[in-house]
């Protein structure tokens, strides 16, 4: 059972690492942009998986942090601060702060109420975003320059930017892997499995769930910062509720609670969208039922299929 997964993982990482080389060899630099965008959404999906797949917290407003991270890059840039050393920590910190507020209020509820209240908070931020005229409102803002990191790291170079995103994805996966197996991870996974039991043995579960919620928000904020740099543009529509739905679909499609599954989910979902859209303008009529089928018959997602246990 381990072998195909490990093999897929190795093949996957090597493939991702080689994309720039292959793209350069084939003179197809577009794939660099495409895969980079996919990896950015993979970061968002992995961050959601931390709370959704491992912690059992069905947050339907995860795109909010994508937006917060994006604003944290675009707003300083708008005022002439282009340093990534300012923007990126701000993106992570601000999303963590927003997640702390949302989490504190939302985690008081559970079940479907939790789903709805996280959705409501994301909508609230969305409407806030489209209302602030100083920062582009609905139109959003153009990012005049990608985040600056001094001489060494130039995001304007597509290869450099690619490996930065790749590195961050690998780093997140590695940190996530450590985290879910550390004491903290055991607690949030156990909270998903059986929260009353966890309280009975002496864990005050709220603070651990909240911490996980904040960490996930922070990681997604980073994805938001990357996304603005990728698009060189910020729009509040990053926070629209269908975005949250998309990210959630990536997680489920790839396989919840698997860490690597959401990466696979992001790859397949975004490629599928691209291919179907090129094939017919009615691509959603295919994608919709496909989603239903996946939910009904492939509960463990693509990563689960790789593991091969029915």
């Amino acid at each position: 059972m381990r072998t195909p997964r490990t093999l897929a993982l190795a093949v996957g990482f090597v493939a991702l690492a080689l994309v720039p080389v292959v793209a350069a060899a084939l003179n197809q630099p577009f794939y660099l942009d495409l895969v980079r965008r996919i990896m950015i959404f993979a970061i968002a999906a992995v961050s959601l998986d931390l709370i959704l797949g491992f912690g059992g917290m069905v947050s339907f407003g995860h795109a909010a942090y994508l937006g917060v991270g994006a604003y944290a890059v675009a707003i300083p840039a708008f005022y002439g601060v282009h340093s990534g050393f300012v923007q990126w920590p701000l993106a992570v910190g601000l999303s963590a702060l927003v997640a702390l507020v949302i989490g504190t209020l939302s985690l008081r509820t559970s079940g479907v109420y939790f789903i709805m209240i996280t959705l409501a908070f994301a909508q609230m931020l969305y409407y806030l975003g489209i209302s602030i005229n100083a920062w582009g409102a609905d139109d959003g803002m153009r990012l005049a320059r990608r985040s600056q990191f001094g001489g060494a790291v130039d995001l304007g170079n597509p290869y450099v930017f690619y490996y930065v995103v790749f590195g961050l994805l690998v780093l997140l996966l590695w940190l996530g892997h450590r985290l879910i197996h550390a004491r903290f991870g055991m607690v949030i996974r156990a909270a998903r499995s059986n929260e009353p039991r966890l309280r009975a043995v002496g864990f005050a579960t709220f603070r651990y769930k909240l911490a996980a919620f904040v960490l996930a928000g922070a990681a997604c904020g980073l994805a938001g910062a990357l996304l603005t740099n990728q698009t060189e543009y910020l729009t509040p529509s990053y926070m629209h509720w269908t975005r949250s739905g998309d990210i959630m679909v990536m997680v489920i499609l790839g396989g919840m609670g698997t860490l690597f599954g959401p990466v696979l989910g992001a790859i397949v979902f975004l490629l599928l969208e691209d291919v179907l859209a090129a094939w017919t303008v009615h691509w959603q009529v295919v994608l919709g039922p496909l989603l239903v089928l996946i939910v009904l018959y492939a509960r463990r997602g693509l990563w689960g299929l790789l593991a091969g246990r029915g």
Binding site: R183, F184, M186, S193, P196, A200, V201, G202
Partner: protein, 251 residues
């Protein structure tokens, strides 16, 4: 009797029209095993839930080791030495048996905001957990996924998780429920080893088990404790027989 370890006064809980516990008074001395018996729906499980802190009482006080713990939530009571088992088996099914117990150890080994070191490689968690598993007779099953354990083994695991928190007070809600004869005998043997070492409040239907373990028995009917006493006294108590079994006392 010195000051009891656990002292409950006037505990009351109402669900709509049903009074689940109606002014329950209980005293449990350190090291004592108190069995609470009574017909279905008498409020025994509600009592356990209030003692463990999972359910807030409408009225009444719970004192533990001289302190009022009525307002404390479950995790904090656990921190003071409460541990419970559930009537319906409650374990972390996706985790191994050892993980289950190690989590209980972890709960009392400082905070868990540790993000780096693999919990499964921490000897400080695994060794005590293995010891407790051995104590309840599950040493050989340590690496089996808890959900895949036999029913009786899952109940044993519940006890192990409670023990792993080094409790002063064990609240056991029908520990042999749904067990076969062999399984329940094994459980009784296990619980017998705990007598005296821990203070125990035991809710149980199986009279064999109750008489095998209890120092004292309290009988609950309609949310009230109608009698408390030594097992023999309870067995012979006509009022208990009538209330519990509904027998009309023959003249």
């Amino acid at each position: 009797m010195a000051e009891p370890l656990l002292s409950v006064r006037g505990l009351r809980k109402r669900f709509g029209g049903l009074v689940a516990t109606d002014g329950v008074d209980l005293d449990v001395a350190e090291g004592e095993t108190l069995a609470v018996i009574g017909p279905n729906g008498a409020g025994k499980t509600t009592l356990i839930a209030q003692l463990s802190g999972d359910l807030a009482p409408d009225a009444g006080t719970i004192r533990f080791a001289g302190e009022d713990v009525t307002a404390l939530p479950a995790p904090e009571r656990s921190g003071r030495g409460f541990a419970r088992s559930f009537q319906v088996t409650s374990i972390f099914r996706e985790f191994s048996a050892l993980d289950n117990v190690a989590l209980a150890v972890q709960a009392h080994a400082g905070h868990s905001f540790r993000f780096w070191r693999r919990a499964r490689e921490e000897r400080a968690l695994r060794e005590p957990a293995r010891a407790v598993l051995a104590q309840v007779g599950l040493a050989a099953r340590a690496d089996v996924e808890a959900g895949a354990l036999a029913h009786g083994e899952q109940r044993q695991l519940e006890i192990a998780m409670a023990l792993a928190t080094r409790p002063r007070l064990l609240l056991l809600d029908e520990p042999v429920a749904g067990m076969g004869i062999d399984e329940s005998q094994r459980m009784v043997a296990l619980l017998r080893t705990l007598r005296g070492r821990h203070t125990i409040v035991l809710v149980e239907h199986d009279m064999d088990v109750v008489f095998a373990l209890a120092d004292r028995i309290s009988v609950m009917v309609y949310g009230r404790v109608i009698a408390t006493g030594a097992p023999e006294a309870i067995r012979g108590n006509a009022e208990v027989r009538r209330a519990y079994l509904g027998e009309e006392v023959r003249a």
